[in-house]
Amino acid sequence: MKMSTVRLTINGLRVHVPAGISVATAIALVGQPFRHSVTGEPRAPLCGMGVCFECRVRIDGVAQQRACQRVVNPGMRVETDG
């Protein structure tokens, strides 16, 4: 069975990822960093369920989106500030 894929951009990179996965997962799959904390430490998803905000990214220009709560969509623009 051929898995359908979705094309989106993450930090300006054009990527193909499996359909149905979360934006957080897409970022991990293509090996992009997540956010940096206020003192500059690299961070990554912690809770996976929308409460910790460690996975927050900008999606289509809207900041503070939790990447673990959104499924990838064709054409999405994701920026992680990583």
């Binding site: 990554a44 905000f53 959104r70």
Partner: protein, 431 residues
Amino acid sequence: MVDACDIVVVGAGPAGLAAAEAAASHGKRVVLIDSQPRAGGQVWRHDALHGQPRVAMDAIRAAAGNANVTYLEGTQVVAVEPERLLLQDARRGFHLAYGALVLATGARELLLPFPGWTLPGVTGAGGLQALAKQGWPLRGKRVLIAGSGPLLFAAAATAQRHGAHVVGIHEQAGASAVHRFAAGLWRWPGKLAQAARLRLELARVPYRTGSIVTTAEGDHGVSGAHVRGGQGDERIECDLLAVGYGLLPQVELAQLLGCALEPEGAHARVQVGPWQATSQPRVFAAGEACGIGGIDCARVEGHIAGLAAAGAAVPRALVQRRDRARAFAASLRQHFALRDDVRGLANDDTTICRCEDVSLGAVRTHTDAREAKLATRCGMGACQGRICGGALAELGHGPRGGMRPPLFPTRLATLGEPVLSSVSDTRGYTP
């Protein structure tokens, strides 16, 4: 677009789905809301690789597929006013008026700080499970799972199904407590069967009791962990470290509505009567929000709350089933009670508030969470204290202060000025 209905159910996990189905079957117009992109809640979270179990699909169809139910996915409640909610989805904010409300907001993990817990690759145990189901790359990864409770097994099984090499499960509770729990499981045959299945699936994974992850190490991400247990201290190499110390009820929305809470250990749960009514008129609550009870409890409480919210009679048999399920919860709590040493893992340099990078040392000088928050900004970040608040309460720094609107960081376009001021003017929060 709906702007009013008879009953709003918040949360589309097992409890909320059961509530929506029950209320709709009595002819009520129901709106079911969940912030996740798909229905199912935590236990029935959709798996990008393996889909959802049959029982979950049936429950979702019975609720979201009911002609009387409007299901709004990817939508969260961000504030409340008398008789209406302020909702937000990916595009916009809007109001929804309701006659009665069922809160089925579930639980989150209790995540306790330890040196290295902010490294990328360190997650909650249920957190790892949730990420795995979202498709997180796990194939060939060495995963170490630790913390407490049966969720460790569920997380390990999910990780393994996604191709991870689970190098160990480390339970903080001692061997005798775990054995006593297992020995009592015959009283809940469904749980016993489930435990046996998981144990078989994980037969090759070492399971250690009385064992605690004390430190995570790594440069840009986790590469190993120190574990303290019966065999002394050892370092275990891993690519991912998943640590969760059980669950705590999500009561923020109930709190915002002024519902009375009661203690659950160091945390809080929504207080309900026999028919799941909260202290506020026409507001009901069901499932983990009313105390950690597991899926069976969530389903039967949701059913009762849905009937009660619809003004329908609640059969006695349901109430008996609920009480039985709650007894299981009590057994869990008793046997997986946290040992004191898990509360002492963080040192003064360990970050406790991950949003604002506040260390435990900075917070320790304050006696209550509110004072600490004002002085250090601990809990003022994007998660609004959901992570550090639970941790601080568990570490003995008092319960969290009251929730203030909005419940989640909210776009300004969603929050018209009148909404916010009327919320805080009319509800009298205890800050």
